[in-house]
Point group: D2
Chain length 360, copies 4
């Protein structure tokens, strides 16, 4: 099979991208002289202020990675015997190696969600079944991911409905925002949009992703009610997420939050996914759903086609039973990458070998 | 009181220093194109090889920080009902906010150690008291810090004696090497010296510090018996220490391990502490012990003198009850910093105000 | 509504029954003089021997209750990052207040099971999805309940198929045997039947229920491979399940295991459930499935009927959404109890008030 | 060596004693008909009332054993990152196999206490060292044992001083009362004495021991501020301490609390220890301290003497390094037991063989 040269950047994950130049420059600039460790420095103070500019009167703590951010956020919401309600594909339930169970001792009640989104009725149902008797871990926190692990996006109204339901039942709401910038871009792309589905909707604590959006590495835990952050500094240390040289995490976020870079990068990433969808939608052996909301596609591919393309430019399987895969764009994906990749998929799809294998 | 300008870099901590230029350059160079996340990249492979060059046939996993590295290392050594034997000033016991108890569920048996060093007899005694009956958490891991939290250094023979005792009693040995480079420098400063008190001495797992020695942030967990690392990748994820963009941690370590930079930086840091000792040893109101082994001094200061100097160039208290403080040098401390700081201490010590307060 | 006098013993739960007279007598006989605590006594030795008579070369540890027995059993099978595969109605998942998550730090992967029974294919599927990548807690233990929470019973072949699948995938098998006697009775009622679905089928560790079968309180954890019990005494102490005056737990079990009393009581209890089924099967407003395998019925009742009967002789709701309830017999349920209860249900079912309410 | 017949009851432990006849009778009487499980029964209600009669407006939850009672009590007082301050010989620190660390994830800060008693100054010192910085687990609960593991007793004033110090520092106070009856007897022997060192002194939560004072098995957790018990029913289930057939635990306590039996048994036990002290105080090879406060002696014995007597009538070593042992009386120790044991010690002490060995 003859394929064009693979794209310079693969479509494996937004985690595979590097750091934006402005982020690296900010780290370099912060690398001057001494600064007290553990966040007692001016970059961290400025970063906290930048998050207040974004969300209002909030408390923000920086962490290394998404699992750490989620564990820290949940640790401030959970009492003993408390359980977390989430969907079965939630990162905290499926992709954090049991961190919440091990570190927090918490049960995760994971509910089916074909589109990755939790419904208020599911929360009601869990509450009706479990709240009360001493024999059940008590549902206390609702955790949703925005945008979801399946590339869908909750509207502000949907988040508000979840928050209303949760609060009425005495529960709090956590948002895993590893890709919160992509969700913001999808919903209109402004700071007020961001606020509409977070602070305005009634979310209690969220994580604000940086790693997948152009940082070397770093996530923020934002307590929309700063009173909830009272024990958070201790908990961050205990769950191993306190950086010694915090200024270098803070400086990265300062670059990302300056001049709306976070939103521009997410808009670009989303746009590239849309372009990829358009460029591959009609190809033989490629089944796509509708246009993507954020920066991921979940194509069902002819197995032989998939193998051929993966060998040429790697991407991950998603649901092997259905021959479903994931294509993901990043802040640095170029139009040339998209065109090159689509061209390769097209060439592989029409190659005799692929067809031959696919038809057996 | 009239004092000279403070030194450009304080003596608060080696954590207050920034990153070495070679480290930043390595990060920049690694920031090119895409690389698979979670360590499936060539920088991480090269970094693992670099640690094998240093230690032999070992398995190495990178983490974000020292608490994370210690928790990961201990998690691979501990079974249920197992306890860790350490000194009462051990970082894991005193300065990690109970991470081992919370995340690992492990009891830490912390023993008195005026010089920060555990003795084989203490291990024997703990074993005699506790091994056996089902009522006691079972001592299973000995954890020592090299160099210690008090700036002392175990000789290779001392580590070997601890390992022999531990192994004879069915226990394993963990070394918290947050400042392992400083210890290596103090003991002679070569790779063979490093091996003499680690792999040759019988240590099972160690952490190799990078953050305090010129990195932006990063620590390595080195399994001297690679079989012990079998479950470590899972555990690293679970304890929140798996970096998405691992190449940027690996690249930092590659720079540090290249051409012995790790050892040069530690030697310099140690030398600056020695120079600071010499420059302040005779000053009024300053009681120092003997010359430092590594990069920290623990002076007992006249309270008024301490306050005056802290306001001028900050450093941390150590044991307030004794009016003891800590001065710490870093990889980037200059001779001018030392001379400037010593001059300030000297000026404060002889100032009329200080004397007046100190004599009351 | 005019109802006959309620039965002397309700149908709320086998937990509501008291202790068999032989059990109380055994406790009285053991209450003579002093005996060393924590199981270092002759009753405990004899009890261990009695379990060896039943199962072969096994190690047995006694505990206070079922949750404790399950936690102890699982603690010996689970390493860090390990997960338990079970059904969503499993007692460990639904009715132990998150004990496994809190005490063991383990994720429970709970799968749908309309009849309460796990299928080998479900284990295969979980393994295919999760075994391998470091991002997932690793399925390591399969836990099934025999008889199940829904009153169904695994055949020996079904258990063997689960064990074969689990072992082939590197997993172990735990049986929650809170009602193992009822299952044994249902499958034929002999010691060889008991062995056929436990030791012969390949089960690794089981709990052997006593509390629901005539004890004051007590459960046994039986390690069918005694090597797995190596750390169990420590773990029992740690998870708070070591009795000081163990002789009184052991003496109860000795009475239960003597002369097949455990099996007679379970056979009686099962028989009473069968009789209750027969006596209520045709009543208006009562929907029963087929005859019970063990000692529980899960009738769907007209709501007004249910309320009327519950007020007269209490029993628990099971699935309120379906108006499903649970009737449960015990070792001491009499034929008169069954007839009296059935008479009351019948009277309530035909009373004008009930019909009136039910028809609204 | 010729020794008289050993006493019918050994001096190994108060755990080695059986149950008081009134306790067994109460269990028998409660074994009539059905009662709802998990404490929803009249015996449990009466037992709660009996504890209110003793302490005032308190909430009481029954558990199986002392470790379980301590874990439950502490679980209601501890938040995340909280630590417990206790003495190094505290049962929770030394003899519960790390249950608090494993189940609660809590650090225990265990302080030296030659007489088994914590001092307010020690609490002050810990608070001064640790309260505040995010790097330290935060001391939040003070746990003392009354009577202590060393047979000493806190006066009401001493407990009040500890409570005042703890509360002033924002901490709460837990009393491990496994032998609270013996302490009450030692301090005067009345209900008002009991209140003087508990509710009147400011204790927050205590455990009230039954097992060592004539029960088959059972301990109570008494929340002197019932608001603290809000989550306790859930926590009791989660930490595996919820009895199915609770009536049988409650009935035991009802017997113990009726007509002051708990105090009579403890007074008797203490008196027998006093008599044993008097009967052995002058014997060769036996070093006793002053008369015992409660029901234990810690004699230092000539090794050969100890061995000879242990073989004849077993008791446990305490501190082998000092050849120290423990003799313990129980609620059922008779004067004849004391005289017989003392006679044996005396005979062994003067036997030629013992002397010969002892003099080498």
């Amino acid at each position: 099979m003859h394929l064009p040269p693979p794209p310079e950047r693969s479509f494996a994950s937004d985690n595979a991208a590097g750091a934006h130049p402005a982020v690296l420059e900010a780290v370099s600039r912060a690398n001057h002289g001494h600064a007290l460790a553990y966040g007692d420095d001016r970059w961290t103070r400025e970063c906290e202020a930048a998050f207040r500019d974004l969300f209002g009167d909030v408390a923000t703590l920086l962490t290394f990675n998404g699992t750490g951010a989620n564990v820290l956020a949940l640790s401030t919401l959970l009492g003993p015997v408390d359980a977390v309600v989430c969907v079965d594909g939630a990162h905290i339930a499926a992709d954090e190696a049991g961190a919440s169970e091990r570190i927090l001792g918490a049960k995760l009640i994971d509910l089916p969600a074909p589109d990755g989104k939790l419904r208020p009725e599911q929360i009601e149902d869990v509450a009706a079944r479990l709240l009360g008797p001493e024999h059940h871990a008590q549902p206390a926190v609702v955790s949703i991911t925005q945008s979801t692990e399946l590339g869908t996006v909750y509207t502000a109204d949907e988040v508000a409905a979840i928050c209303d339901t949760a609060h009425r039942l005495g529960m709090t709401v956590h948002v895993d925002g590893a890709r919160i910038a992509n969700a913001t871009a999808a919903l209109g792309g402004s700071e007020s949009v961001l606020r509409s589905f977070t602070v305005d909707a009634g979310v209690d604590v969220l994580t604000f992703g940086g790693t997948k959006n152009g940082l070397l590495g770093g996530e923020a835990v934002v307590f929309l009610d700063p009173a909830r952050a009272r024990r958070a500094p201790y908990l961050r240390k205990q769950v191993t997420q306190l950086a010694s040289k915090m200024r270098f995490v803070a400086a990265q976020f300062l670059a990302l939050l300056a001049d709306g870079l976070w939103l521009q990068l997410a808009e670009h990433s989303n746009a590239m996914a849309g372009r990829l969808h358009a460029a591959t939608a009609g190809l033989a052996g490629v089944e796509l759903g509708g246009p993507p909301q954020v920066n991921s596609l979940f194509p069902v591919l002819e197995p032989a086609l998939a193998t051929a393309v993966q060998e040429w430019s790697f991407f991950w399987p998603w649901d092997p039973g259905r021959s479903q895969f994931r294509w993901m764009t990043a802040w640095d994906t170029t139009e040339a990458d998209v065109e090159g990749f689509a061209a390769g998929v097209g060439a592989a799809a029409t190659a005799p070998g692929a067809a031959a294998v696919a038809s057996t």
